[in-house]
Symmetry: C2
Subunit: 398 residues, 2 copies
């Protein structure tokens, strides 16, 4: 059997002053020293997943909720690492005691994905065979691989069944893959702002981002020092991608054509920053390069490109045939990266496959990132979906 | 008076075998040696506009139609330069004998914009003061400047009044500016897929493109040899921008998730080109760098960013107050760069200012580039607008 160890032990202790928050949390590392064979056939001698948990696993091991993060997310989805952290985890508005994902009731787990760069094994990890980062010698990662690695973590944690697996965007892809790969393990799927098939436009944006990175001389075919690399290319990829996470309307409301306070004059006769939206984007690019690895960006966007359940299984209905979970899919009207139709299609295909599935569409003008933003409507949907009684599993397949 | 010369003399001779086409055309250069003061206050000692004409100016000089091109367009909008040219001018489907813009009836003029790089004076032109290209010493160009330069060309050509000024995208901005700047000269405005105000999302995409160029080490603060320069950055800017000219639906129909015929395998375990859409985009980027100057790209996108008629004149109604032209604005349902609403707003503001204006919205799924593509519906609208009787000018302003 494999040796699987928790490198750090404590997590999820809630301070008294932090009502509604999971408080100070500590990430842990799940280390698997078993060889892991990727869908591509490539093999790693072992891997690490960095993760956080909030709340407590009950005696039956059946109150666990897995949170799957999006492209640029990580395992830190609630609470703070230090009392003076400026921001909490990325889904802190949804997860915590008394919140829609109630950590007084559920045991919540979130891990940095395989191929990532925030503690989990990825291209920036050291290749034991060379003593240097894998770079582009890292195996190609798929959503399927990410889910299989997560399953090993959940087994290690003693989770017997997943009450719910939740995710938006790339996280939503993992949700669907979870229900397909481990049907008897997953009781509910909650997927938001996602797709069962990465379309041509999304592939196109990913490709421009990859080109910006790979054409940066500092990329050096993926071989660069940890604090160096294609920072310019990665910033440009992020600036562009960030536009696709927002909407025309939200950008116009947030920035419009407002000039930076220190802009030289009212008429923008400069190529330097003149508009607030330019300043915002450059900040997004700059902060991203300090927290994200360019090679991970290549690998994870390629995992997105690969994702097409209908192609992988013959049809969406065939893909969903084994699913036992009840599913809620949430789309957002202003999401033009994974538009409402692509979300609706998931629920319809599940219904056609004889499964329990619903589609809810929320009217927002906040674009793709709507799933991350405060929304009482979303919280009510999530709460209702998590709290309703679970029907005994019946196979409705046709 | 200024010396204004045609460097080349012949244009628009139609070969017998080319029915429906203006045939073989020859660009000409309008050279103005008068100082030109830009809106920024900067001055050029003179400038050149390269242009083409099709058809003949009538004795009254009142059958002229001016075509204004978009960001990456030029003066060559109909016919071919050589019999073996693979493609005709960019709006050849609209312009020619018997076509919607009928060169048997109209004298059609199109010039490469000031600041451009296809024969007109721009940052790649030689600065007589240094003997080297202007680079970023070139004055900042605005839509207003482009229109003023075009007016000098039309005066030189003997045009007494513009029957119609037509343009899409940036060309549409010029159309509106024409009607405002030269109200008694412009009898009809036909603007498509455009806006009276560059919004935050459009500025954001322009900014990412500029950053891709300016962060390319080969940009060298705009100082690069004619056959060199930031080719990588310009290609990335173009790849990204090209996505904004299409639509999710059109890209999915055209490319979907089809793999390149020579792709290594069906599972895309590579960062090289795997999907046809990637190959298409890279081709778009590569062909662009062979025909476009990176500094011109910076200047012209900045001109777009600057464009906001309401800001420039206090309100859109005030901006349009002097207009005497009748106006038709055409929006396209799938255009998400300059969406229907932004086009509708132009017509509504003209109506509020007491002008004759109509808005027509065409259902397409081809995105922003819809205005360039074959469409009998569009042709019928254009033909009807050009052929209807012109009312004597009455000032409807309120």
């Amino acid at each position: 059997m494999s040796k699987m160890t928790d490198v750090q032990e404590t997590a999820g202790s809630r301070g008294p002053a932090a009502a509604g928050s999971v408080g100070i949390v500590t990430p842990r590392d799940f280390v698997c020293d078993q060889p892991f064979t990727f869908k591509s056939g490539q093999v790693l001698p072992g891997f690490t997943l960095r993760y956080e948990t909030y709340g407590r696993l009950n005696a039956n091991g059946d109150n666990a909720i897995l949170i799957c993060h999006a492209l640029s997310g990580d395992h830190h989805c609630a609470g703070r690492h230090h009392p003076d952290d400026r921001k909490p985890g990325w889904w802190d508005n949804l997860i915590g005691p008394g919140k829609a994902v109630d950590t007084d009731r559920f045991y919540v787990i979130c891990s940095n994905c395989l191929g990532g760069c925030v503690g989990s094994t990825g291209p920036s990890s050291i290749n034991p065979a060379t003593g240097r980062p894998y770079g582009i010698d890292f195996p190609f990662v798929t959503i399927h691989d990410m889910v299989r690695a997560q399953k090993m973590l959940l087994d290690h944690l003693g989770v017997q069944t997943l009450h719910t697996v939740i995710g938006g965007s790339m996280g939503g892809m993992q949700v669907l893959q979870w229900g397909i790969l481990y049907p008897s393990f997953v009781r509910r799927m909650l997927a938001m702002a996602t797709t069962a098939r990465e379309g041509a436009q999304a592939i196109a944006f990913n490709e421009v981002g990859r080109q910006a990175i790979m054409q940066d001389p500092a990329w050096n075919r993926g071989d660069y020092p940890r604090d160096g690399g294609p920072r310019v290319g990665l910033a440009i990829a992020r600036m562009m991608a960030h536009i696709t996470y927002l909407s025309d309307a939200s950008m116009d409301r947030k920035f419009g054509r407002r000039r930076k306070a220190d802009a030289a004059n009212g008429d923008a006769y400069t190529f330097d920053i003149q508009f607030e939206v330019e300043s915002y984007l450059r900040h997004q690019g700059q902060s991203f390069i300090n927290r994200f690895d360019a090679n991970s960006y290549l690998y994870i966007t390629r995992a997105l490109d690969q994702f097409d359940l209908a192609q992988a299984y013959g049809s969406l209905e065939t893909a969903f045939a084994p699913v036992q979970a009840e599913t809620l899919v949430v789309g957002f009207t202003s999401d033009w990266l994974f538009p409402p139709d692509q979300n609706r299609t998931i629920a319809l295909s599940l219904l056609r496959a004889g499964k329990r599935a619903s589609y809810a569409e929320l009217s927002t003008d906040l674009g793709h990132d709507s799933f991350l933003l405060e929304s009482e409507e979303l919280y009510a949907l999530v709460r209702g979906f998590l709290e309703r009684e679970h029907e005994p599993v019946v196979d409705f397949s046709i």
